[in-house]
Symmetry: C3
Subunit: 270 residues, 3 copies
Amino acid sequence: PSPKSSSSGAIGNPPKSESVLMTSRDGITTITLNRPAKKNAITLQMYEDILLAMNAASQDDSTITVFTGNGEYYSSGNDLANFTDNPGGLKLSEDGNLPLRKFVDTFIDFPKPLVAVVNGPAVGITVTLLGLFDAVYASDRATFHTPFSSLGLSPEGCSSYTFPKIMGPSKAVEMLIFGKKITAREACARGLVTEVFPDGTFQEEVWARLKAYAKNPPNAMRIAKQVIRSSEKEKLHAVNAEECRILEERVLSEECINAVLNFFSRKARL
Amino acid sequence: PSPKSSSSGAIGNPPKSESVLMTSRDGITTITLNRPAKKNAITLQMYEDILLAMNAASQDDSTITVFTGNGEYYSSGNDLANFTDNPGGLKLSEDGNLPLRKFVDTFIDFPKPLVAVVNGPAVGITVTLLGLFDAVYASDRATFHTPFSSLGLSPEGCSSYTFPKIMGPSKAVEMLIFGKKITAREACARGLVTEVFPDGTFQEEVWARLKAYAKNPPNAMRIAKQVIRSSEKEKLHAVNAEECRILEERVLSEECINAVLNFFSRKARL
Amino acid sequence: PSPKSSSSGAIGNPPKSESVLMTSRDGITTITLNRPAKKNAITLQMYEDILLAMNAASQDDSTITVFTGNGEYYSSGNDLANFTDNPGGLKLSEDGNLPLRKFVDTFIDFPKPLVAVVNGPAVGITVTLLGLFDAVYASDRATFHTPFSSLGLSPEGCSSYTFPKIMGPSKAVEMLIFGKKITAREACARGLVTEVFPDGTFQEEVWARLKAYAKNPPNAMRIAKQVIRSSEKEKLHAVNAEECRILEERVLSEECINAVLNFFSRKARL
């Protein structure tokens, strides 16, 4: 179990967590999902730890923030135990919203260039959030999968807006509604991924590039991101709010409850 | 000549038409353009039959709706005889608008996943509407052609908005203004088409995939589509209204009248 | 030094400039950057000459307007001497805005199909403006480079809006924030370029195609462009205004001043 974070995200005070690591060097702060035995599935505690890490990264003196996973997977997404561990299936925040809403808002508002280093397969929320990143580098071992419909769920992470914008509706819907899993090369051709690297040289090539990028004037990069994001920030927050409103209904639907029960009964039989 | 439809689109009461067929099985309702001797060109009657079929499909118990063509062509688009068969060149609906406006609105508002199975060449309105579909599977024999300018006409089907969004203005304008005909592979690289299949295995591969997709929880798919569409539905209706307003002027322009006359005089000489 | 323009852009009265040429034939008006010894870098005078040429082209009887460069380069972009030649680093227009704002507005509002014939490497503003063109044909010798961050600057030419829309944020930001230079084939895959041609046959193939396109009915083409542009013209003007507001601050920043000084001191040492 990951320890509670001891920090409110102040500068130099990153979260002390085993499942979400945070390191900083060469002008780059890296947030690493570190639960490899569970394919880096994200627990409720990890959502909170990621938020703390994002807040710390937004204020430290790094110029670029990187998101990655430890081990074979980037992340298998939301830990489905989150549904069953909360009696009633749903835990709302103090403000009456899904915790997901604040989580996604943090990615919308993040003030520095945010880069995903996708080291392996990515699922669910860790795929949809990529539409809010500034660059996405992927190993050729990575795959991208958003099986919302089969779980009775609906798209989040602003993907209902960003995916059709990035790849056109005909390719976005195949992923978001029909749950088609795509390869790293397909994701790159569709514009979700910036560039794909052979797995053998992935880490070496990507980090060399990121270190070079981190040497650009920091204010220029931060302000360029602000200009780019400003033309749709309001829209993104509205989309996030609407997606969460719908999802709140979906997690209580019979389709979703049956799908989650099936998932765990299949696991139990193995 | 296709018989009048006898239905107002109520459930289980699809239009009785020879030129627009409607079948339902495996959770999929299929609407087929069936005028192969005329390359599935769409007559005024067929526009009405398609609307009735869409209304029926939106209310039946299928989970996915498919649009396709019978024979060698997907569709050669609007039957140009529609212009000459209406003295004055233009027939408005009772509400004073082009019938096209209501036709396109039906595609904007369609509540279930809508898939195009493009079995051969597609022209005009049957190409532009693809930007409103949720998935587009194409045979490698298919081509995509929108020769509006050479006919003195202007883009419709929301393509003036969806095409630049899907493929960027530099590729959209080449199709919409310069009338460049593109191949299925080009359309796929541009994001208009989801995936291309060899013609020999096209039907088999596409229908196997669609049957699998149709097994997803139906409410989840319907709601996911609603979330995706909601962020731009208002914009799409506004674009459709503006495109129809402009087109109403264009069909009465000298450029258009001369182009249509030339088309028929060329045909007559053959 | 290029002579002052003698014209206010009235029909048949193109600017008399050595560095910005204007010719008209076969229904196509061509504006050529003609400062090959300086890689077609754009001086303050050339910005004015281009505006005059654009105004003349918008009103003459051509149907298509083409933008191209003479020599090995398309253009190396804004001549950095523009910064140092103006004490204080910044010269505002009479209306208190950056001259850039009016310059970009002219591209947003241009009423006819506007085609870039990218004969070689393109840098900075001549790359970002491509997002406002209706077609972009490139030699396979062309490259596309927007090194704003390394100069302490921020994106302009509406690229903060058009680039993410065309190629998705993950590929747009790599160019606009990290300054990645891309090839013609990459730019084509990303949707910034319509089509790439081998350099040996580039001029021949492109001009044959343009001459054919120029034979389409001129009103139909002009009105189709108007329909396509109208759905985002207001947004584009707002983006341009915001980009110029930010850029006004950036050109006076320490990061920018240092970067420009370094550029000239490196040049002086060669």
